[in-house]
Amino acid sequence: MKKWQCVVCGFIYDEAVGIPEDGIAAGTRWEDIPAEWACPDCGVAKTDFEMVAMDAAA
């Protein structure tokens, strides 16, 4: 399971945790999140900005 960071605001998406309150179950891989999804902290759309995979050590 990976962690991804929004390059605009720093929000971290943890695949192991998901975002249950947004309908994204724990374990959902980044690629499988719907295209219409927007970063919950800053509103940037999934299609617009890269989430950057975080190093395991980070």
């Binding site: 390059v7 605009v8 605001c9 720093g10 929000f11 309150e21 947004d22 927007a38 919950p40 902290d41 800053c42 509103g43 940037v44 759309a45 617009d48």
Partner: protein, 381 residues
């Protein structure tokens, strides 16, 4: 066809451009910026140290990249002198006069500075863009101690970031608590404790008066009689929308450049968004409102007039020492805060006189309730 001209290449300017190009690949597009036109995200500056990013690693795209991506002409390092709304032109400093079909003002805001006495007052820095940030990081090199003026959003975020990278951090603010404008008292006290818990030192209820050289460092005189020794002073006391150009052009300005809910200013064909704008009475210098405004404005510019929608848009304060998220009640709403204090956090709710939830502040473990509470709050616009 006269181009759409966007003044400013911050998050607001570049996002309008990107959203417009999704809808319209034909209309000529021009952007003008005083800086080098690098595309970066300002929120990233608040924890670049913790993310181990040098200033040179923060830009996401260069102006050249953006020129290709946007199929636009980008004038970099060019200052705008005046806007002529009758002639629909923009005059620049030692540069061309630009004709526009539609003009977008995405000018941002300036850091507020207070006058300080002392022989080192002119060395006080502020950070409001990537260039400032690079200068700040260069000035930090070899230093150990930083004094922040201002315990607002940026002051607290930078305090956390610096302290987590082992700098000695002190923060001065005339208010009785950090984030005083956004948080009710118990929530603010919890945040203060969280930051003090990692070693940040606060001087509240006072202000800096003088900054003087003292040996290899600085001596800062506070109004309450205290003297603080430090190596670098960073001023983060607030922002003032850049309204001068608009005002000189005869546009209506208030706290920001006044627009209606279509982002249109008092002049036809001229729009404004972002930190420089006051949209239907709201000045919201945060990312989410900018995204909402940019999407609506792009549709309008592409030919379908679209009013911006502002749902509740909570602001996440980037203080890892004490997670904090706040959805401030809209200005002018009468009501009161109720604060629920637990050992691991504070849940503060703002209800209006009819008992409706209009805002919240969540600190510590209470931040888990953010999504649920956001859904209860009616839209701002």
């Amino acid at each position: 066809m006269q181009p759409i001209v966007i003044l400013g290449t911050g998050l607001a300017g570049y996002t309008v451009a990107r959203e417009l190009r999704k809808l319209d690949t034909a209309t000529p597009l021009m952007l003008v910026t005083r800086d080098d036109g690098s595309f970066y995200s300002k929120p990233v500056l608040s924890n670049a140290l913790a993310q181990k990013k040098a200033a040179s690693q923060i830009a996401l795209n260069s102006a050249a990249d953006m020129t290709r991506q946007l199929q636009a002409h980008i004038h970099t390092n060019l200052a705008v002198n005046a806007i002529d709304v009758a002639a629909r032109t923009v005059t620049t400093e030692n540069g061309p006069t630009l004709a526009y079909g539609q003009l977008v003002l995405a000018l941002g805001a300036d850091p507020i500075r207070v006058p300080l006495a002392g022989d080192a007052a002119d060395g006080v820095l502020s950070v409001n863009d990537l260039g400032d940030y690079a200068r700040f990081r260069a000035a930090l090199d070899g230093k150990r101690r930083v004094l922040l003026l201002g315990a607002g959003l940026i002051g607290c975020e930078f305090a956390n970031d610096l302290r987590a990278s082992d700098f000695d951090v002190e923060v001065v603010d005339p208010a009785p608590q950090p984030l005083g404008r956004l948080l009710p008292p118990k929530a603010a006290a919890f945040l203060r404790a969280g930051l003090e818990g990692i070693g940040v030192r606060f001087h509240l209820g006072t202000a800096a008066q003088a900054v003087n050289h003292a040996g290899n460092g600085l001596r800062i005189q506070l109004a309450n009689g205290t003297t603080v020794e430090s190596d670098l002073v960073l001023s983060a006391i607030g922002l003032k929308a850049r309204t001068a150009l608009a005002q000189a052009a005869g546009l209506k300005v208030n706290r920001g450049i006044v627009t209606d809910s279509f982002l249109q200013t008092s002049a036809e064909h001229v729009y404004a968004l972002g930190d420089c704008a006051e949209v239907a009475g709201h000045n919201l210098p945060f990312v989410m409102p900018i995204m909402q405004a940019a999407r609506a404005l792009a549709k309008t510019l592409a030919g379908t007039p679209t009013a911006v929608q502002y749902p509740a848009m909570p602001v996440v304060v980037k203080t890892p020492a004490c997670p904090t998220v706040v959805s401030p009640p809209p200005p002018g709403v009468d009501g009161q805060w109720t604060e629920d204090v637990a050992s691991d956090g504070v849940r503060a709710l703002f209800r209006d006189v009819a008992g409706k939830l209009r805002g919240f502040a969540l600190v510590g473990a209470a931040t888990k309730d953010k999504q649920a509470l956001t859904q209860e709050i009616p839209a701002l616009l």
